[in-house]
Symmetry: D2
Subunit: 382 residues, 4 copies
């Protein structure tokens, strides 16, 4: 598929994801980490307008001069912006107007790339497509959270399947010690944080060929794992007590049986599904309780061809830091990754909410250790 | 006008007030004190459904069993409710559905009152009408606040007039000392907090026949009144410093000139208009600076027939407390006023946002001393 | 007793109160409302140095130029000061040095007043003595709080008697309606907030001749008064829930029996003693539950000659506001009372911690409605 | 020196460090990270009592049954404890009593180890000595902070030298790529977090043979480095803005010249001294501004024999995580390090406050990225 066709497909997919929403559904921001759907629709469009149309189209007139203020996320280089926790207060522009904005930008982008686009513009388009795919995933997890605060369990789509059961037998995959290479290889697209490809020395280890399941996690819960400080980081334990954490996010005990909210509604826990919506603290505590541990991101990457991955982001025991030789791009695009490299943990893999083709073996996702609203899971190592 | 006609007129007026709003405009809650317009539309309706339809119509089926949870405000008697600061997170029910709810309740109310209504039902209807009028005013001030957080000064209605200039000459109205009566008299509707009518002894005093104007208030600002602790309550001073208060709410200095946001847009300050959107702390500090004081609510009430009032709520120097002989109604309706009688100050009068005929000489409004989003003003006494 | 003798007696009494303390005991500040004993010792001395020695003694050299910064409380007029919540961080000056400061100031004050003191100096001395008496009471209640946070119930003095049992029979004292006078009368010392003496109209009422006892309050607790919102102010109810309030301050249930911390140690609750260490919210809720109410401060003052008072501060249902004709003194002394006249409730009477001769019928004490560390009690009216 | 002699020397040194303090100086806790000196004195003693005397001496009677509650730090295994932020509220036990506690424990420890101690007891003694050395350093940095909040710059000791000037010429030390070993080697004491010794692959790098100096850091400040988001982590930037950070901790600009508080008093900045009291955020931003970076902890360790270290803890770009093969000890001692391995950054080296012989090449210190009260510095790499 040509890049511009891929662009069109990606843009259309975003709108398909939003199709089940009412106008009202586009506006809610129940916590600071969750952005209103309207904002995702506008912000991804702003990215193309700001980094391509304004730069490569002569005398380009902004669609609306207010939108740079409203739909900038964190790019300090590109000017002032609405504070992140205030996105849900904005009733203007209307949802309809944001769709007009999308249409306007799409037409100009397609027109430009069907002409004779600059090489740098092509790179930025590819970055923008990948950026929009990240927001497609965020949209799904954010909207799940929004539905979760509605009092009466509304449904996003009956057909949305949150999980796949792994029915192959459990096995430890063994990796010998030695020097390996990790990081992005080849000419395909990658984010700057996947570079440079570099050598690492790994000590011999084993890694599970399966995710931890709900039934396994329930053993931890039933063994009072949430009440025993010995398995927890000191600040994980403080987090458990301060927030009264007793189960994964979206779990509810109804008449003695565990249920969970999903994008297809409230359901009984399926014991054979991989556990999800857990924080790094919980993933770590579960591993400690089992007498095992989480893999590092390098261990994960080296072994990942030998197991199935992709239906859950997997917490690793690696902090999110720069690879050797990492360098930031010039200007606003350089703010994409580097400035988040502190106090976050790396997740590897992909999830049911990740658009097809977006992730890869060397992909580095990252979140704060206490966050649970992404589809996060556990794979053990030893 | 018959009571049921008055009901219909009141209900219709609420919807007229909301007519300029987009669907999106109905959902925002930028601070906890401000409720989303959708919530006002539903809550006022819930009042009639809960206290009249459920009580007086046999086998009445709730329009929607979730609405009691969603649209209850603070009536602990009537069950659990959405926490106040979470009203803006709710995308469901839709605005359209809330209008259906209104229609449903209106039809049944009208039908019932065109039959042979119980005397108690009539009293509750009157209370409900007055309650809806209070929310009409809150809607306007809340929506002004919502517009105020939109980045680019949108307008509610070009025709909304926030102010009337008082052009009569200034005069002190003098009242002699003696025993007076205050509190509601006669058979008309009043809230429980206006009762009992009772005697008070007043020492002789003078009260202004005019509001303090913007130009007078600017003298205080220019005299650095916001920087001199001597005029302020100790906690008023802490409030000024902590919040960096330098002017009334909605004032903005643009190129050296003061402007203010109004429901009809951004405007230059008119020096002759009464100052508004000030806290009790500011009203008190202004009076101190002038070497004068605010009137008590009893002083206000005794003198009010001698001056024009009604375009601004007026901060008094009276704390909101029970009158002698005050008693609460039985059940949920008893939660209407009494439980707020601590740490709030009384305001007298009415404002440009108060529906016609809603207020009266004995009406007691009340807010916390730091609040400014109502149309509040200053009348001096000595 | 001459004024200067009274000064000496008062100063000595402060030091007697502190005699049971270790050096370490002088430094703790567990909450912002509680000041370290060292600070009380220094601040009361600073008052005399600042308002008398600096003003009336020619070329007076400050004892230590840092002390104005350290021991100023809230007098913004007299310069910068240590923030209130940081008083407990100060290890310097030493306790010993503060006693030297006291000695130095005492010698100069006595010397000056044994000469030919100015009339204004005499007034300030009287104010300073009354000020120091207020801090004697605060010292006792603050130190009780400090002992309360030590893990193992240390004792201030085995001989300190916190309570007197009222064994006379219960009776309603009835007062007829009419115009009465309240406020300070005569030439004796009073604070500015007791002026002017003025007329009030009171409706007929009854007031109890006894305090509410622990056993009566236990009835409220056993009737689940702390779990029933109907008796509480809206913000009182929020306070109960947010802080998990279930009993008066310093009460502990040990093996099913209620005990309380006192300055003489941990003791079983005596059912016949007046209940104490309750907030205004609790006093109000108790009265509501009984179907009665708290008296206003004017009702209290008019009736107070007919009952025993003085062993407990009594919450009234009056907000702390200015009397008619109230005016502040010039300069720093004017900051004494007026600037606290918002969001506080009046207490009348005195307590076991109040120095003999300090309080009187017209005395107006005041605290925020949620505070409980003073010896506060309940007298009912109807 | 025998282990028990080393114990005695260490214990004595703690008391020598505290010798300049008044009784009052032992009690202050201005922020939660800073413990009162009295607490350090008691807690280090509690460690020996709890882990040695109680375990190895038959029928040992606790010195005081309350002390386990008061002087436990974070060992959840050993029972309830005073909350960390409340350590400064405790006026009991007295400082004198804590010294008696020290004496009591010292006598029994010496007696026991002069007999026939168990091998495990010897290991715990060694751990306890190293633990007390860590608290010696914390005492100095905590007490510096305590002095820093006293209004008038008191001095700990005129002779305490906070800094040594490096006068050798600047040079990049070059290290070739390859597989290296890091982690503790040999039989000497180490903490569990230094194990296992393991291989790492390092890419070729250069590391400075000198610390960044005050004059170099002033260049960053003068170039408005604190005002330019481009050099900062996203959360570092938020920290700068929220806290108004403009210079290292303890720096004060007086009449246009930078000074700093030190344990020997207020001094002008010496441009040639290494910069200190900076957060990880600042260290990172400084390196970014220079176009360089911080070394990883493995890079530091491999190169450290080639440069002078030890007068400043050096921020590395490594998150504090477990080494391959890390395992926690059984029981309470296992809480020593592992549970802090999240959201902290590693520091290498030692400081002027570190007791002689305490640190080593493989030593891993760690703090949260925003903390500045330790003697922290910067060494650059590329």
């Amino acid at each position: 598929m040509s890049l511009i066709k891929y662009y069109e497909k990606t843009r259309k997919f975003t709108e398909e994801l939003c199709a089940p929403l009412s106008t009202e559904d586009h506006l809610s921001q129940p916590i600071v980490d969750v952005s209103p759907p309207k904002w995702h629709l506008g912000h991804t469009t702003w990215f193309f307008e700001t980094f391509i149309l304004k730069k490569f189209i002569k005398n380009y007139q902004e669609f609306d001069p207010h939108f740079n203020f409203i739909f900038n996320s964190y790019y300090e280089t590109v000017g002032q912006r609405v504070l992140r926790h205030q996105r849900g207060f904005l009733t203007r522009p209307s949802v309809e107007r944001v769709y007009e904005y999308r249409k306007h930008v799409d037409e100009l982008i397609v027109q430009y790339f069907n002409g004779n686009p600059a090489a740098e513009a092509r790179q930025l388009l590819e970055l923008g497509i990948n950026h929009e795919q990240q927001h497609q995933e965020l949209f799904l997890t954010d909207f799940k959270y929004i539905l979760g605060v509605q009092p009466f369990h509304p449904v996003y789509s009956k057909d949305f399947k949150e999980s796949i059961i792994e029915d192959h037998p459990f096995q430890w995959i063994e990796i010998k010690d030695g020097t390996y290479e990790v990081g992005h290889k080849g000419k395909g697209f990658c984010f700057d944080n996947e570079l440079n490809r570099h050598k690492v020395y790994l000590h011999s280890y084993s890694i599970s060929n399966k995710f931890v399941t709900n039934s396994e996690y329930l053993e931890f819960m039933n063994a009072k794992g949430y009440e025993d400080f010995r398995y927890w980081h000191s600040e994980g334990w403080a987090w458990v007590k301060e927030n009264g954490i007793k189960a994964p996010l979206y779990w509810e005990e109804i008449d003695g049986e565990w249920h969970r909210l999903s994008l297809s509604g409230l359901e009984k826990i399926n014991p054979d599904e991989p556990v999800t919506h857990i924080s790094y603290y919980e993933a770590y505590a579960y591993a400690e309780w089992r007498g095992l541990r989480l893999p590092t991101e390098e261990e994960w990457e080296v072994a990942a061809e030998k197991f199935n991955w992709g239906q859950r982001w997997e917490w690793t025991n690696s902090a999110y830091l720069a690879y050797p030789g990492f360098s930031k791009a010039e200007g606003a695009v350089g703010e994409y990754n580097g400035k988040f490299m502190v106090n976050q943990m790396v997740l590897r893999g992909a999830s049911v909410a990740t658009p097809e083709g977006h992730s890869r073996l060397t992909y580095r996702n990252f979140f704060h250790p206490y966050l649970r609203w992404q589809f996060t899971g556990i794979r053990l190592a030893q």
